[in-house]
Amino acid sequence: MQYLWVFLIGGLVCMLGEVLIITTKITSARILVAFVLIGVVLQAFNLFEPISAFAKAGINVPIIGFGASLAKGAMGAVESSGLLGAFTGGLQATAGGIAAAIGFAFLFSLIFSSKTK
């Protein structure tokens, strides 16, 4: 049952992206930016946690979860270390994902070459 909700909500979120692509012809960079911002805003108003408790990976795997972690990290770090946290918290919380994406991309770019089209 849990998995059904993950599938449905994750699918709907992704379909929302596709709707944006079809109706406005915006590029993938703007889609990603828009969804990160949605995540930041959801977390800023404390709406992300209740959705996440219910939708699990359905909302955490889409890049909305990345935006929410950024905001959540910043807010959490403000609580523990004051104003400094506003600057350190966001990247601290998302460091794993960013470093993995950069690290794997670099590693694979050394190993593989692009297929000539």
């Binding site: 849990q2 993950v6 599938f7 994750g10 699918g11 979120v13 992704c14 379909m15 929302l16 992206g17 596709e18 709707v19 944006l20 692509i21 079809i22 993938s28 960079a29 889609i31 990603l32 930016v33 990160v36 911002l37 930041v40 800023a44 699990k56 990976a57 359905g58 955490n60 795997v61 889409p62 890049i63 979860g65 990345f66 935006g67 950024l70 905001a71 990290g73 910043a74 807010m75 946290g85 506003a86 600057f87 918290g89 966001g90 990247l91 998302t94 794993g96 994902g97 993995a100 994406a101 950069i102 991309a105 670099f106 590693l107 694979f108 770019s109 190993i111 593989f112 070459s113 692009s114």
Partner: protein, 151 residues
Amino acid sequence: MKNQQLNEKYNAYVEARIPKTKPWPSLFNSFWVGGVICLIGQGINDLILYLFPSMAQQSAWAWTLIIIIGIASFLTAIGVYDKIGKFAGGGSIVPITGFSNSIASPAIEFKHEGIIYGTCVKMFTIAGPVIVVGVVASVVVGIIYYVIGLF
């Protein structure tokens, strides 16, 4: 005036030339591919928590994301992710695997321009704006949260 006519002609030409994606199949494909990617994430997350029951939920999520980012980078490197992307559109862009694909794809494609100016610079053509906007927004949210906390 003449320019405007040319522009209109050009726009009509472009409109006629761009490949038409039929909305309904592409919506359906983005839905189920996106859903499946999220399911895979949930499966990995549950497996991690099953194997390491003492791990905190937050660390399990971090590992989950690192693992699916790794898988997506690899699929990008062997050219599979781009095929999924053509088929699924938003279904492959919106999940964090799309973010990872947006880094790995140019990194590999521009390798021939050198490691620094090819791989390292081009890596961030799409991910750069995402990280910049995300970080700026999170700093703003953090500062507002701090100011609200003062009262």
